[in-house]
């Protein structure tokens, strides 16, 4: 006797099956097609939302990482001394990318380095505040407030300057590098 072997689920299914037998074939086909359409629509919506969620997460992460890297790299770029200018420029070159890197390296080696060595200049820069101006997945524009102290053989007492710059950070192989740096203000020097 097979009845004892039926599970409770089997009995329910059997009952449902018998009731389903009453459903006209046309209605069955319509039901399946309608459900299939709903599944496809839900699949498309879920895929779209998944992509949008990933993009949103990537943008949030880009904002956070790029601002943090801008603070660090802008300070590195503007910090140097006569004794270590060659290594300072090499280090700063690692902070730059794109057209800015192509401009910065020769300019730093040919113009900044001789001037710094001749005058015995040293500069210590700090980015005191930073904020994202615009964000895309691979480019973030950041406004930075820079405080810089500069001294030289002729002016041994450090002079402080405060300035503002707009920095474009570009994602290069997972690293946010400076691809543009535009000073937007420069205060008079204060001692």
């Amino acid at each position: 006797m097979r009845f004892p072997r039926l599970t409770a689920l089997g009995r329910i299914l059997s009952r449902l099956a018998r009731r389903a037998n009453r459903v006209p074939p046309r209605l069955r086909r319509i039901t399946v097609v309608a459900l299939a359409v709903l599944v496809l629509a839900a699949g498309a919506a879920t895929t779209t939302l998944d992509i949008a969620a990933r993009q949103a997460s990537a943008l949030d992460q880009a904002r956070f990482d790029a601002v943090a890297q801008a603070r660090l790299r802008v300070a590195q770029l503007l910090t140097y001394s006569a004794a270590t200018i060659t290594t300072d420029i090499d280090r700063a070159r690692q902070d730059t990318a794109g057209a800015f890197a192509q401009y910065y390296a020769p300019f730093a080696q040919q113009t900044i380095a001789p001037a710094v060595q001749q005058a015995g200049t040293s500069s210590v820069a700090a980015v005191t505040r930073a904020a994202a101006v615009s964000v895309t997945a691979d480019t973030v524009v950041v406004i930075v407030f820079i405080d810089q102290k500069t001294s030289s053989r002729a002016q041994p007492q450090a002079r402080s300057t405060s300035s503002t710059a707009q920095v474009t950070m570009t994602d290069v192989a997972g690293q946010w590098l400076i691809s543009a740096l535009t000073p937007t203000s420069n205060s008079p020097e204060t001692q």
């Binding site: 459900l35 879920t46 405060s162």
Partner: protein
């Protein structure tokens, strides 16, 4: 037998549901001969059941039910996943809209605050005060007449350009905006426009649907 005919027969035979469970599970069930059950056993005489080859094939109604159940399950799972994924997307859009509103108010107040004219100051101050709150608002209200006097005496005119503005931090109710401002000033002493640079930090707070500036500080 054609499917429709089988189903019609099945429908007709399904008279008593309480008793029908057992009857429906018998091979001689209402569908008749063509569709044995999946749980059919081999024939008693040890010969392979001729119907065994077809035992795995469910009845049309069961097949339909299984299809419907499977599709419904997938649909529910997809809707659940969509709801789960929609939350961060909606939150991101809300954040973007909030940041746009914050920047709009901050740049508007900055534009008005650093583009002053002794001739239009009464109108300007009213617009600035309308977008401020707290102590900053109180300070503006209390110093409005004094500032008007100073501007008029000095024939002060200034125009500004906001060169950059970004949100340093924000949450649902508060925000800090950094601005870089270039201002060009003339007065009774300075006839040729003098360029001045300002770096400004503004704190904003949300009051209802509006964002208001609660501090406007020039950072030295």
């Amino acid at each position: 037998m054609a499917e429709g005919t089988t189903e019609e027969l099945a429908g007709q035979s399904d008279v008593d549901e309480s008793d029908g469970d057992l009857a429906a599970d018998e091979d001689s069930g209402p569908d008749g001969e063509s569709e044995p059950h999946a749980d059919s056993e081999p024939a008693e005489d040890g010969e392979p059941d001729a119907s065994a080859a077809t035992t795995v094939r469910p009845r049309p109604a069961r097949r339909w039910l299984i299809s419907v159940a499977a599709l419904a399950l997938v649909f529910v799972a997809l809707v659940g996943a969509a709801v789960f994924l929609a939350r961060p997307v909606l939150a991101f859009r809300a954040d973007s809209a909030r940041r746009a509103a914050i920047i709009a108010v901050a740049t508007d107040v900055a534009q008005r605050s650093y583009s002053l004219s002794f001739q239009t100051f009464p109108q300007q101050s009213g617009a600035i005060i309308a977008e401020t709150s707290g102590n900053y608002r109180q300070g503006l209200v209390s110093s409005e007449r004094g500032l008007q006097y100073i501007l008029t005496q000095g024939q002060v005119k200034s125009t500004c350009t906001i060169t950059a503005a970004g949100i340093e931090r924000d949450d649902a109710n508060t925000a800090t905006v950094l601005l870089s401002i270039t201002s060009s000033v003339t007065n009774t002493q300075i006839h040729t426009p003098q360029v001045r640079y300002y770096r400004v930090a503004m704190n904003l707070e949300r009051q209802g649907a509006k964002w208001l500036v609660e501090s406007n500080d020039v950072i030295a």
